[in-house]
C-alpha cells in the first residue's frame, strides 16, 4: 500500500485505483452508493450535494457507457460539468497531456474525471494539479469505479463479499477491470481466481493474491460468480491468440458451461460485449446475468465516489 494512501474517507482526495485503498473506505463507498441507488428511483432523481462544484470529464480514449455514467452521476448530484473527448494522445496534437489538463484546471474546475490509454496517467496528474483526480480507466492498469460497481453488484446479488468465490475470465493481462476487481475483491475478503489463455494471463499474477484456474469448467465448478471480460480483438493481431474460434472454444462462456457447473453462478460483464465470442447471448440475456444491473449500479457508485471526494470538501468549506 502506498504511504500516502488515505486511511479514512475524509482523507480521500482522489480516486486513482483500488490497489491499497482501505477496505473501510471501499465499504463506505458501497454503502453510500446504496443510498444513491434509492435516489435514482425517485420521481426527481437529483440531490443538491455537489451544487457549485465543477467537474471536467476528460476522455482521451473512446468510451460510451463510462462517460455517460459519470456525466449522469455528476448531474444527479447537481454538479456543473464539462466534457472533453479526444481520441488518441494529446501529444499527437502537439500539446502535452499536462498542458491540456493544466489549461482545463485553470478554468477553475474542482475535479477531473480522466480516461487515458496510458497506465498511471491519473497518478501522474494527481501529483501535478490541485483538482481532485478520478480515474475512469487508465491503460491496462485500473478502472476503480468499474471495480466498485462490480463489487456493489455482487454484494447486492450475493449478500456478501467476504468468502465469495469470484472467477475472472478472459484477457487478464490487458484488463484494467480485472486489476481493480482483484484489488477490491481480495481486500474485502473474497477469493478470486483468474482464467484465460496463458498468453493473456500476466506472469506473477499470483502475487496479486489470486489463483489461476487451468480450465473454464474447473473454474466454474468452484465459483459463485463469473466476471467475463471483453476480448480485445486487437490481441489476435498481436499473436496472443491464434483465432477467435480457438478462443471461443476454450474460453467463451456458454449455457452448456453453466449447466455443466450445475450451480447458480452470477454472470457479470463490464461491457461492451462481443456476443458469441467471450459470452453467448443466452448467457448474457439469461437468468443469472446481472449485466444491465451493473450499468444502473455504475451511476450510483460514481455518485458515491464523487460525493465522498468532493462532498466532504464542500461541507468543510461551508463550516
Amino acid at each position: 500500500m502506498p504511504d500516502s494512501a488515505p486511511r479514512d474517507s475524509r482523507e480521500l482526495r482522489h480516486m486513482l485505483g483500488l490497489d491499497g485503498l482501505a477496505p473501510a473506505i471501499m465499504t463506505e463507498i458501497l454503502d453510500t452508493a446504496g443510498t444513491f441507488l434509492e435516489v435514482l428511483d425517485r420521481p426527481i432523481p437529483k440531490v443538491p450535494s455537489l451544487r457549485g462544484v465543477t467537474v471536467a470529464n476528460l476522455f482521451f480514449e473512446n468510451s460510451t457507457r463510462t462517460r455517460l455514467s459519470f456525466e449522469l452521476a455528476e448531474k444527479r448530484l447537481s454538479a456543473d460539468t464539462v466534457s472533453f473527448s479526444a481520441a488518441g494522445s494529446s501529444v499527437s496534437k502537439g500539446e502535452t497531456l499536462l498542458d491540456t489538463v493544466r489549461n482545463i484546471e485553470a478554468m477553475k474546475v474542482d475535479a477531473v474525471v480522466i480516461r487515458h490509454g496510458a497506465s498511471g496517467v491519473p497518478h501522474f496528474l494527481s501529483q501535478r494539479i490541485d483538482a481532485a483526480v478520478i480515474n475512469a480507466g487508465d491503460g491496462t492498469h485500473e478502472h476503480p469505479t468499474q471495480g466498485l460497481l462490480d463489487i456493489f453488484t455482487l454484494r447486492k446479488e450475493c449478500g456478501r463479499i467476504e468468502g465469495l468465490k469470484v472467477l475472472i475470465l478472459g484477457d487478464i493481462a490487458h484488463s484494467r477491470v480485472a486489476r481493480s476487481n482483484i484489488f477490491g475483491l481480495t481486500a474485502l475478503g473474497a477469493e478470486v481466481k483468474v482464467c484465460g489463455p496463458a498468453t493473456l494471463i500476466p506472469r506473477n499474477v499470483e502475487s496479486l493474491g489470486v489463483e489461476v484456474a487451468s480450465d473454464l469448467d474447473e473454474g466454474l465448478k468452484w465459483c459463485d460468480a463469473v466476471n467475463v471480460l471483453r476480448l480485445q480483438l486487437e490481441r489476435m493481431n498481436q499473436g496472443l491468440i491464434p483465432s477467435l474460434r480457438d478462443y471461443q472454444r476454450q474460453f467463451g462462456l456458454t449455457r452448456e458451461h453453466l449447466e455443466r457447473a450445475d450451480r447458480e453462478i452470477v454472470v457479470l460483464h463490464p461491457g461492451p460485449m462481443n456476443r458469441g465470442v467471450e459470452i453467448d447471448s443466452d448467457v448474457a440475456d439469461g437468468p443469472f446475468s446481472v449485466i444491465l444491473e451493473q450499468v444502473t449500479h455504475g451511476v450510483a457508485v460514481r455518485m458515491a465516489v464523487l460525493f465522498m471526494i468532493l462532498g466532504h470538501e464542500r461541507e468543510e468549506g461551508r463550516g
Binding site: L98, G139, R179, P202
Partner: protein
C-alpha cells in the same frame, strides 16, 4: 582557493590522502604537478608560484573514467551538449568519458568524431567518442570501422539498440578484432522487449505496465557470447541488469571468452517497485529490475564477473520526460551522482572495498576501452579525482551541471562527493 575551471603550470595538492592501489600508494601527503606532470609525491615546502589546493580530509585517486555516457551533441543539444555533459562529468569527478554514438547524425564518420572532440577542448575531461557498429546505426551494413579507428575510436556500439542481427554481430566482432577494438553491446532482443516500459515482474502486473523481461536481455547476451567465442572478437556487455546475465557472463569468463561487462549505479541501487509512482525518471533501458538482481550485480562486481561501473548518463529535456510514462523516453542522469551513490551505498557500508571502486571506475573501463592506465606516480601525466569522502550532501536536481534534470536520485542523502579533477595543467574545483 580558486573555484571552477583553471589552468596552472604548477599545482600543489596539499595534505590529502593519496590512494592508488595500482602503485601501492595510500598515505596523507602532498602532490606537486609541474607542466601537467606529477613531479613529486611527498611533503613539500610552501611554494610561492603554485596553485595550491588544500586537500585536508580529502581523498585523491586516479581520475575516474565513465565508459558509457550520452552527450546528445550533435542533434539533441536541448538535452545536453558536449560542454554541459563535460561539466557534469567534472562535477561528478570524471576526467574521461566515452560518449555513445546515438547522436544525430550518429557517430559513424571521422567528421563527427572530430566535431565532438573539438567541443571538449580546453576542459579537464577527455571525451572518447564511441563509433557506430553499423552505418547510421541502421543495423544494415557495418560502419567504416577502420576509418574511425584511425581517428582513435577504440570501441563500437549501436547503443540504444542491440546490434540488429547475429550475422552483423559476427562480422563486427571479426572486423573489429583486427584493430583490437571492442564491440559494446546494448543487449536486448526486440521481439521480446518491444513496447515494454519496465521490468516484467509482479510489479509490472500490479501497475498495469507493459513488461520488458529479463530473458529479453539474457538471450541477446547468450547470442553474443557464442559469437565472441566463435570469432575470437572482444565483446563488452553494457549496463548488465539481471541475475541471469551475470551468470552467463561469469560462465563465459570461466571458459576464457573475451567478454567484459559494466553495471550502472542505478541498477545496483534501484528496483522496479519504484515505478509505482509512474515517475518517468525511473524509466530506463534496460529497466530497473528486482532486488535479487541488484544483489547478483553486486556479487558480480565483487568477484570480477562485472568489470566496470558506468553511468549510462542519459539526459532528457524536462518536457519530454514530464508526460505519460509510456510516452516518456528511456534514460536517467548519472554522472554527478555515481560516485556519491557508490560511496554511500557500498563503500561506506563496507560492501565494496574502495580499492575495487577505483578499479571499476578507472582501471577496468580504461583497460576495456584500450586506453593507457592512469597512475599516481612521479613522471605520470596528472589525471586525478579529488573526493571529500565524509561530506554529507543532498542531491538537488536544480543544482546540477547537466542541462537536464532527470535524476532518480533527487533528494537522496549521500555521504562522499567529488570536489574536483585535475587533468594535466587544467583543473576544476567545485
Amino acid at each position: 582557493m580558486k573555484v571552477g575551471l583553471g589552468e596552472a603550470d604548477r599545482i600543489v595538492v596539499r595534505g590529502a590522502r593519496v590512494f592508488d592501489p595500482q602503485v601501492g600508494l595510500d598515505r596523507v601527503t602532498d602532490i606537486l604537478i609541474e607542466d601537467g606532470v606529477i613531479s613529486s609525491i611527498g611533503d613539500l615546502s610552501p611554494s610561492q608560484q603554485a596553485q595550491v589546493i588544500s586537500g585536508k580530509g580529502w581523498l585523491v585517486v586516479p581520475g575516474l573514467y565513465d565508459m558509457h555516457v550520452h552527450l546528445r551533441e550533435p542533434g539533441q543539444e536541448h538535452k545536453e551538449t558536449v560542454r554541459t555533459g563535460c561539466a557534469a562529468a567534472m562535477a561528478g569527478g570524471f576526467t574521461g568519458v566515452a560518449c555513445m554514438p546515438n547522436t544525430d547524425p550518429p557517430i559513424d564518420s571521422p567528421g563527427v568524431v572530430r566535431f565532438i572532440r573539438e567541443q571538449a577542448t580546453g576542459l579537464p575531461v577527455e571525451v572518447y567518442p564511441v563509433g557506430c557498429v553499423t552505418k547510421g546505426r541502421a543495423g544494415k551494413t557495418l560502419a567504416d570501422m577502420a576509418e574511425l579507428a584511425v581517428e582513435g575510436v577504440t570501441a563500437f556500439s549501436d547503443d540504444g539498440a542491440p546490434v540488429a542481427t547475429a550475422g552483423l554481430m559476427r562480422r563486427a566482432l571479426e572486423y573489429a578484432a583486427k584493430s583490437g577494438a571492442v564491440i559494446v553491446e546494448h543487449a536486448e532482443e526486440p521481439s521480446l522487449t518491444s513496447g515494454g516500459v519496465m521490468h516484467e515482474s509482479a510489479a509490472s502486473t500490479r501497475f498495469g505496465l507493459p513488461g520488458w523481461p529479463a530473458v529479453g536481455e539474457e538471450i541477446c547476451i547468450a547470442r553474443d557470447i557464442a559469437l565472441a567465442e566463435y570469432t575470437g572478437g572482444r565483446l563488452h556487455i553494457a549496463h548488465v541488469s539481471t541475475a541471469g546475465s551475470v551468470a552467463l557472463i561469469r560462465e563465459a569468463k570461466r571458459r576464457g571468452i573475451a567478454v567484459t561487462a559494466e553495471v550502472t549505479p542505478h541498477h545496483l541501487t534501484l528496483t522496479c517497485e519504484l515505478l509505482s509512482t509512474y515517475d518517468s525518471d525511473y524509466k530506463v533501458n534496460p529497466p530497473l529490475r528486482e532486488s535479487r538482481d541488484s544483489e547478483a550485480l553486486l556479487e558480480g562486481l565483487l568477484d570480477g564477473t562485472i568489470d566496470a561501473i558506468a553511468t549510462d548518463h542519459a539526459p532528457h529535456a524536462r518536457d519530454e520526460k514530464e508526460v505519460e510514462l509510456i510516452s516518456a523516453p528511456f534514460g536517467m542522469l548519472g554522472l554527478e551522482t555515481a560516485l556519491g551513490v557508490i560511496l554511500t551505498k557500498f563503500v561506506q557500508t563496507n560492501r565494496l572495498p574502495l580499492e575495487r571502486l577505483i578499479d571499476a571506475m578507472t582501471v577496468q573501463p580504461r583497460r576495456i576501452m584500450g586506453l593507457p592506465p592512469v597512475r599516481i606516480e612521479p613522471g605520470a601525466r596528472a589525471n586525478l579525482t579529488l573526493i571529500a569522502p565524509n561530506e554529507d550532501w543532498v542531491v538537488d536536481r536544480s543544482q546540477q551541471s547537466s542541462k537536464s534534470i532527470n535524476t532518480p536520485f533527487h533528494g537522496w542523502e549521500l555521504r562522499g562527493r567529488a570536489k574536483g579533477v585535475i587533468l594535466g595543467q587544467q583543473y576544476y574545483l567545485a
